[in-house]
Symmetry: C2
Subunit: 443 residues, 2 copies
């Protein structure tokens, strides 16, 4: 743009004037971010920030190969899917190759919300049921039907509770929940909660569509599921005639390190998998993969058309992201650096009693802050203070979890061991400051 640069204050005041007030900003003093490269963001003064928040710009901000694919295809053709084009089938083939059988059919849409909407429609059309089991604290998107299945929203501020067809299973939280640890017994104990809901549904005049779950709980507070949880829960749902949806919008595409998909860490194969955020490295792209049976049942005469979904530009971008993950071995990077970062963060626990728990898979990590390691009293104010101070140290973090006390780490998966060292060192200092601050000393 050739017009003069807007100041931070002007942008803030124009946001207030022109944009809906339900759109929030990060930080007490928001950042003006003008450039991104790899795992870094840069503000208007050229200050660099290590981005530990962005699981959308997955292979690194402004990745040159992804940008080139976008620009080249946009200059050639961007039209809907009612004509033939090679990009959509090349991309579908490559994306489906990352998934186990029988997940062999896909649909392309524009956002994680559109993907979860379509997943619900697939499940409901296939089963003829409406009732859906979700996990307490879950968020699956911003449409009416998705607010309905998102306890994080419908039980949060402004929410109106769950409709009668939505049933929330206890959060399988090995740290804070009633059953502790990551073993199979814990998994089975939490899965019994899903069983209890199925009995309620079957006892009532209701019909089951299925269950939707994130393989690692995001808004739930970066919760790693205990072993066997999804296997047991999915088996019960299937026995009751429902289908099982894995919401990979936050955690898919190699982020968990050991596997390409989060559900693989639980040893299950869902009936439907939804994908969003990282799939296009920021480009509005999302997808749903499912079985041939479910896709065929959905073709009941009502066409599903998505104007932008699967256009050649989006498919070229999606393909480039898969290529980059593969060629730069980013899943392996997430595994290696994620393990190193988890170790480093756990190493802080000795010195910093505020850290109640450090957990995660690959580069999807939560650091839960507590005032007391026995009572688990959540340290929400401290979490906010720490995130603000970390920003001053040049590191961007976010907070999640129903008690607002979990530091959420989900950087672009090009994150390095040096970045991990920088992060752990800075967090060590800020936690020490925080302890001083808490003790009422001058900082």
């Amino acid at each position: 743009m050739t017009t003069r640069a807007l100041s931070k204050e002007e942008i803030l005041s124009q946001r207030r004037a022109f944009l809906g007030p339900s759109l929030s900003l990060s930080y007490e003093e928001p950042l003006l971010i003008l450039r991104g490269q790899g795992q870094y963001l840069y503000d208007e003064a050229g200050n660099r920030y290590l981005d530990v928040v962005n699981n959308v710009c997955h292979v690194g901000h402004s990745h040159p190969r992804v940008v080139a694919a976008l620009a080249e295809q946009a200059a050639l053709l961007n039209t809907n899917t009612r004509y033939l084009h090679p990009a959509i089938v090349r991309y579908a083939e490559k994306l489906l190759a990352t998934l186990p059988a029988p997940l062999e059919v896909c649909f392309f849409v524009c956002s994680g919300s559109e993907a979860n909407e379509l997943a619900l429609r697939l499940a409901r059309t296939y089963t003829g049921g409406l009732d859906t089991i979700v996990i307490v604290g879950a968020y699956h998107g911003n449409t009416a039907a998705l607010i309905d299945i998102s306890p994080y929203k419908h039980n949060g501020p402004g929410g109106r509770g769950a409709p009668p067809w939505v049933h929330a299973a206890p959060m399988p939280d090995p740290y804070r929940g009633p059953y502790k640890g990551y073993g199979r017994e814990t998994g089975a104990q939490y899965a019994a909660g899903v069983g209890a809901l199925l009995e309620t549904i079957q006892a009532g005049d209701r019909a089951l569509a299925g269950m939707i779950a994130e393989p690692v709980l995001g808004c739930g507070g970066q919760i790693v599921l205990p072993d066997g949880y999804l296997a047991e829960a999915f088996a019960r749902v299937r026995a009751a005639g429902g289908v099982c949806i894995a919401d990979e919008v936050q955690v898919g595409f190699g982020r968990v390190g050991s596997h390409f998909w989060g559900f693989e860490t639980q040893g299950v194969v869902p009936d439907i998998v939804t994908m969003g955020k990282p799939i296009g490295n920021g480009h509005p792209l999302a997808a749903v993969a499912t079985t041939r049976d479910i896709a065929d049942a959905f073709a009941n005469g009502m066409e599903y058309f998505n104007t932008f979904g699967g256009n050649p530009v989006s498919c070229a971008v999606g393909l480039a992201v898969l290529d980059v993950i593969e060629e730069e071995q980013l899943q392996e990077n997430a595994r290696r650096v994620g393990a190193y970062l988890l170790d480093g963060l756990r190493g802080l626990m000795d010195r910093h009693p505020l850290i109640g728990d450090v957990r995660g898979l690959g580069l999807f990590i939560g650091v839960e802050l507590v005032d007391d390691r026995e009572t688990l009293e959540p340290a929400a104010a401290e979490a906010s203070w720490i995130v603000e101070r970390m920003k001053e140290a040049g590191i961007l973090l976010s907070i999640d979890g129903p008690l607002h006390n979990v530091l959420k780490l989900k950087p672009p998966i090009v994150f390095t061991a040096e970045d991990a060292d920088f992060l752990v060192g800075a967090l060590d200092n800020v936690l020490a400051e925080q302890a001083d601050h808490r003790a009422g000393r001058e900082l």
Copy 2:
């Protein structure tokens, strides 16, 4: 891509293998389209087609200025709206400047479906009501809540009818409906149908959210509304406490020629306006504009966050599209060429009794085909035959309307008078052929 080119047959067979079967293709023998420029698409052999279908690539396929804005911003930064960035406020300001007061707040999303979803949530939160008045034959998007308000879908193949909170007003069709012509009396007669629904809602134990309508009916069959229809319908809805939503996804952004927005041709100001398809010239972008009161009421504590919506790349693209419309005077082009094309098409009516009606605003035109101008017996098979033959003549058209007998013309608005001549000439020939074909003569 460096891999070898896929043949048409390979792409077709891979689509069948990898993609959901509910995704349809245009034409008996589908086209492989590899390049687009302006109002033209090119197949794998370099054959050129005049694109009279695409109201998404609004300012012309692969417009260099839009592509440059996309590529430049993508190389710099693409992140979410939780940081400050100038593009979102510059774009919001410019977009809102096209709208009358009090439409002064906007939200950015990724698709027309996301826009209409948000519009429903806004209307329902603001009014506390759920019940929604729609027009028979309308299509507003592909999510669960939007299928509910789309008679085109829920009363079509695979549909399960309208839920009790959705009330369909008679289609205000001046050609085929019970009241004829475009005068204010006809408008009032159809608007009385909305009044009757409001009485039913008020008599029952129901609460009104509002009414949603396209200012020119798209899936309804390119229906131009009679004068005063929306003014009268909106007045009744408001008197009953509802809000009025104009769905500009198909017709906005200068396409109607005389005005920038379709609703302006009806002399109304909606409470909520939704935008999609043409807004980003193919880039997945959409928006909702509304009043300060409605936006403020929506900020009830529940955040509305859209991961991709309003990112710097999407806003740069949206801004470039507005700049191009303005600088290339494309609204004026739509007005001038649209009027010329309407004249040309009407000129065919003398020679071709199959044409029952030619109607439209700017470059949003319908040609309704009938077997009999008295009984209005729809000529659906003839419409399909003509669209296939027009393709062979190098012109892409689509068919719409509940009776599948309306040729739908909605080209990129860079369409020229020469394109109109080419189209009218070809249609003249194909209609003559069709008459011969019908008469059983050798073609």
